[in-house]
Amino acid sequence: MSLKMKINHLNLHYGDFHALKDVNIDITENAVTALIGPSGCGKSTFIRTLNRMNDLIDNVTITGEISLEGIDIKKCDVIELRKRVGMVFQKPNPFPMSIYENVIYGPKIHGAKDKKVLDAIVEKSLRGAALWEEVKDRLHKPALGLSGGQQQRLCIARVLAVEPEVLLMDEPTSALDPASTLKIEDLMEQLKKEYTVVIVTHNMQQAGRISDFTSFFLNGEIIESDKTENIFYKPRDKRTEDYITGRFG
């Protein structure tokens, strides 16, 4: 398995607050990398640096290097970067349009126009997000009429529609019920065959079930990164063990 993204000595400050401290992680291609840790430890901040979403916030300074296939993302065009590194947010955020329009939003901004092409993208993306069977008869109905779990899968489909290489997921199931969560976890198994997935999760069982690699964050630092089974069964650091066994967090 090859290396998709490499993060070297990443430091991030919000004003005076040192939110990420010397973070180093390798993201492996076609695998699921889980980021775990207690609330406020910097996991979400970290995942947002990977597609430069922190550029949208004032007063953030970032040092260190993040590379995507060997190229520094600071030197990439941010639009090109976000097309290659897609993101699914914590709360489903479908646009107030139809299901169809939501999926083609991305392809359209990148210049796709042909109706046949767009139709094909919609079907492929919705199938990819395991939502096609549920919505194929109501593609032109408002997306906000879907259930929370369906909305989140629509958001995944919306990202898949721009054909990214990396999928960032910031606690994608924390606002969902257990049945919807299960569907998205099953989906993750499929997604990693084609995409590189990075997922932030509060749910340790979820990290254990779906990920190949896990990094444990605490107070803006990475305490430990390893194969998921090693983190869960043979943690090297006492703090990782305490967190995994539920002694804090």
């Binding site: 597609n51 979403m53 949208l56 004032d58 639009i79 090109e80 970067l81 976000r82 097309k83 897609g86 993101m87 947010f89 709360k91 955020n93 479908p94 646009f95 107030p96 349009m97 939003y105 991305g106 901004i109 990148h110 408002p142 906000l144 009429g145 958001c155 919306r158 990202v159 721009v162």
Partner: protein, 289 residues
């Protein structure tokens, strides 16, 4: 140990007194409005007819009509809407989406809020000095519309800004994360989401302009017009101006003509406000359902 409920009686009494007071407040307002409406409607009976709607002003009360006023209002307001809508939305988008936080933005913001509170006659004087005299547009529909535009712009900008601000940041982030540019995000997500608020704000601002009289007197709209305006450089009158001139006439019968004019003005305002409500509901359904 339980909490005593000995003062139950006085608490209930207080509650009832308070209810009575707020009921009286509401009824007073409604009573004043009703008295006005009844007096206006009863005077207008017999005067408000097709003849009144389709005639030009006359020195005989029975032959007087509001046709010139209605058409003048339509011309001025239509032109005002065309000029002020893009200016107002553009300014609101700039202030909310592009301008950097800082003293300059604060200064502009305070000035806009201030301008919304300036008496309308001041705008009339500005219109007279700038549009009528300096720019040489004369006492025309164009001068009137430009004056109305600067009068309603502050209100329009503030309303549009509020609508844009109400768009959740998750919508913007969703768009940016797909690789959209700022402009694509504004046109693709922000404006569609904010459209109901922007439209309602615009229509209400325009409804305010329809009732304005003072600035139109200043820019020199004529009270007596014996022809129908045919272009933006023609002189004009508006419904409120026509009403104002009729109430100043010595013949008692003109009071009834004025009452009929007020009913027409109220009907126009009611129509515009209804459109605002319908548009708001339509777009809200799209966003919220």
């Amino acid at each position: 140990m339980s909490i005593n409920t000995t003062n139950m009686k006085s608490r209930k009494l207080k509650s009832q007194i308070f209810y009575a007071i707020i009921l009286i407040c509401t009824l007073t307002t409604i009573a004043v409005l009703a008295a006005l409406l009844i007096s206006v409607f009863s005077k207008s009976i017999g005067w408000l007819n097709w003849n009144f709607l389709s005639s030009l002003p006359s020195r005989f009360p029975a032959k007087s009509g509001i046709k010139a006023g209605i058409l003048g209002t339509l011309w001025v307001i239509g032109l005002t809407a065309i000029i002020s809508f893009p200016l107002g939305i553009g300014a609101a988008i700039y202030l909310e989406e592009y301008s950097k936080k800082g003293w300059l933005k604060e200064l502009i913001q305070i000035n806009i809020s201030n301008l919304a509170g300036v008496p309308s006659i001041i705008y009339g004087m500005l219109g007279l000095a700038v549009f009528v005299r300096q720019w040489g547009f004369g006492r025309s529909i164009l001068s009137g519309a430009l004056t109305m535009t600067i009068l309603i712009l502050p209100v329009l900008i503030v309303a549009a800004q509020e609508a844009i601000r109400s768009v959740p940041s998750s919508m913007r982030h969703g768009s940016y994360a797909l690789g959209a540019t700022q402009w694509q995000t504004i046109t693709g997500v922000v404006l569609p989401y904010a459209s109901s608020g922007i439209l309602t704000g615009t229509i209400l601002a325009i409804a305010r302009a329809i009732g304005e009289t003072a600035p139109m007197i200043m820019v020199g709209a004529a009270a007596f017009i014996s022809f129908v305006p045919g272009g933006i450089m023609d002189s004009f009158t508006t419904i409120p101006l026509q009403i104002y001139s009729w109430t100043g006439k010595p013949q008692a019968e003109f009071q009834n003509v004025a009452a009929a004019g007020i009913v027409v003005l109220l009907a126009v305002l009611l129509l515009i406000n209804s459109i605002a409500i319908i548009l708001r509901n339509k777009y809200q359904d799209r966003v919220k359902s």
